[in-house]
Symmetry: C2
């Protein structure tokens, strides 16, 4: 499989996972951890409609101008600061967290995922969902089998216990 | 259609187009204009095998280390210099040019595509193919209908007249 093949599969898995979550999620916020170029933000927005409040987090804005959330839903800076602040301000109000915050450096990415995982229980509403590009190790999260069409280990799915 | 949907379709079209070209092309070099992250270079390499010589062009190396061609097949710098130099050195020896050199700025991208198009006739071998993310305006190139699965206007296909 070429890197092009692998990348297409990864994006297809991401889309299947997000579409699954959009069909499953309850009331509450959606969090996009790692706005990046804004593609998955745009996907969530288009699937969920404008009534759903989506909060996006990133170090700085690198997204297409059409894919930048309004300022009061955009949390810029180190996620090690912005995510705990959000948890304090909006505890247990989030229906879905999509985390796509990998840096490309495996050890950094795993450390960041572990940090995010520790803060998710305070953020998620009952039955809250997590869709992530990395494992999210937390005793408070039950790992779910991936939706049909996604190979195990390509994307990760959790529900708050 | 979300930006994620659109991006997946673009990559699928790119793969269909490259696979079509790999099945059609004759003997000669393959040129990758815009190495980028190296995904399509890796795809061409995996489809065509190690015996096929692929020359890649880019301003600077930004590709994954596994997807960087050997130094004598890597042409770094402004393509406005490196492409004419290649044409002088290797006239009419190229079976396929894949051009994915858009900068994101429409006027710049169109100007660069026009520049590339002007130099292709001197580079291409008889029946040489061009697969491009932008239109390649040249009287010496006959536009081909896109292979099945690609909507017109999403990717562009030419054969040297």
């Amino acid at each position: 499989m070429s890197r092009l093949d692998s990348f297409i599969r990864r994006l297809q898995a991401q889309r299947i996972g997000l579409d699954w979550a959009c069909a499953e999620l309850g009331p509450g916020f959606v969090l996009e951890l790692g706005l990046g170029n804004g593609r998955t933000y745009d996907h969530l927005r288009s699937r969920l409609g404008s009534a759903r409040e989506i909060h996006a987090f990133d170090r700085a804005v690198a997204a297409h101008p059409d894919c930048v959330p309004p300022a009061d839903h955009l949390h810029l800076g180190d996620i090690r600061n912005t995510l705990p602040e959000f948890a304090d301000r909006y505890p247990h109000r989030t229906a879905l967290v999509h985390s796509d915050a990998g840096s490309g450096v495996a050890t950094e990415t795993a450390a960041l995922a572990a940090f995010i995982a520790r803060h998710l229980p305070a953020i998620l509403a009952p039955n809250g969902l997590v869709v992530a590009d990395q494992p999210m190790p937390s005793d408070a999260l039950a790992e779910l089998p991936p939706p049909a069409g996604i190979n195990p280990g390509r994307y990760f799915f959790y529900r708050l216990r």
